[in-house]
Symmetry: C2
Amino acid sequence: MTKNGMKVLDSDMHLMEPVDLWDRYIDSKFKAIAPRGLTSENVRDLRMAHPDGRAWGVFQSKGVRSGAPNRGQNFNRNQGTYRNHSERQWTAEVQLEAMDIEGIDVAVLYPTRGLNVLSEPHMEPNFAGALARAYNNWLYDFCEKDPNRLLGAGMLSPFDIDDAVKEAKRCVKELGFRAVFLRSNIMNERNWYDAYYEPLWNTLEELAVPIGFHESSSSAARQTGDWFEPNFMLRRAVAQPMEQMLGLVAICCGGVLARHPKLRVAFLEANCTWLPWLL
Amino acid sequence: MTKNGMKVLDSDMHLMEPVDLWDRYIDSKFKAIAPRGLTSENVRDLRMAHPDGRAWGVFQSKGVRSGAPNRGQNFNRNQGTYRNHSERQWTAEVQLEAMDIEGIDVAVLYPTRGLNVLSEPHMEPNFAGALARAYNNWLYDFCEKDPNRLLGAGMLSPFDIDDAVKEAKRCVKELGFRAVFLRSNIMNERNWYDAYYEPLWNTLEELAVPIGFHESSSSAARQTGDWFEPNFMLRRAVAQPMEQMLGLVAICCGGVLARHPKLRVAFLEANCTWLPWLL
């Protein structure tokens, strides 16, 4: 843990949400249409589904479901590593125990299933906002186990900018979160330099919290990795870095940082050796 | 020109096609629907249009036409540089004269307007093939001015693989071209490692000519740069390199080079400092 007086911080640690997170936490008027996590013999099953069984937040075309069907050595090793965590339902205690093993003092927490929850195309703004609020309320309870070590990154919905502004304020002022996040490819038909988002960037400057762009290897909305469907390996190799490149171009070259010099932006889990080229 | 016994070769030189190329060279049964080049006071006007006036091969959405509306210093300089070439209608003589000025002995020739001619989405295969053949026949005539210095790269249509195979053979055996080309983003709904393209890769191995992937900053078919419309500067900054990255992933990781060890592939005009990261 603390080494030579320096704390070890993980700026991008993932947690595993319970399958019934949205069922339990979402505003009751959206409960009937909220996603459910699926389980199987795979202890790290990350799938979500609509109540009618349709897959949630992943590319679907021509009847082929995106995914990694070939289960080899890595899959088997992970089953062993995570079986106990899964049986204990990935609680905050499990998370803290894993941090102890890894020697991590403090972690900023990002979701796993939750990365895809707002990646359905053309989401209804009130519903999308409710999904984000539900996740944030659950995350608050999760972090309560040890608020000094577990730092929440709040989920924002880009589908209603007033809602995003309000939720960013709530995340910081009421829930004590230290960051908020968006996905690079979920842009509500407007790129990040669009005037539409200006109230959010203003708010984040005022709140003095960073915005983390965290992409995922899957999306039901358009994502650059789509071209490689249904080859999940190739999709995964390009989806995260290339969407982050596009996000970075929008934020830097689109003038967001010039207009908001106090805004702090992180681009997470996407390599970085492409950065010298892109800059 | 020749320096210390070494010839200077431009592997990616562009020519400027006449506005009436397809009108003059396309199979007469497609003449009524072929694209026409547009002219204006801009001596490098690259636009093409459908016979009814709709723009050809560029992104169009919400009534906003893609393009570079701000004409500044660079635009004005180019007007001066190219006015004489334009007045002389960009002939092979003009091309050879420009090569003399630049000190280039031999050049592989790629199109300018022609880069976008097959970038309409879901093209009818027979028509797409006829557009490519018309370009190639015109290019043959162009290169005839000095076949030792002007080397054609033949255009292939991916919309009918049998046609692409046949046209590749004709380009090499009848027209004397030394290369053929495709655009990375025009995939006919199948990525480059799809079995559909295997006959073409087999043919190019047999013919022993390279395939050049040459992207363009515009496309009416889906292209990664779409996200930045109508900001042409941002679109241009990402469209070519990122589509080439996607093409390279498909060709390398999709197993095309493993299956076709004699196939030679060039990725052109798209930077290369991203390559170490991508590999």
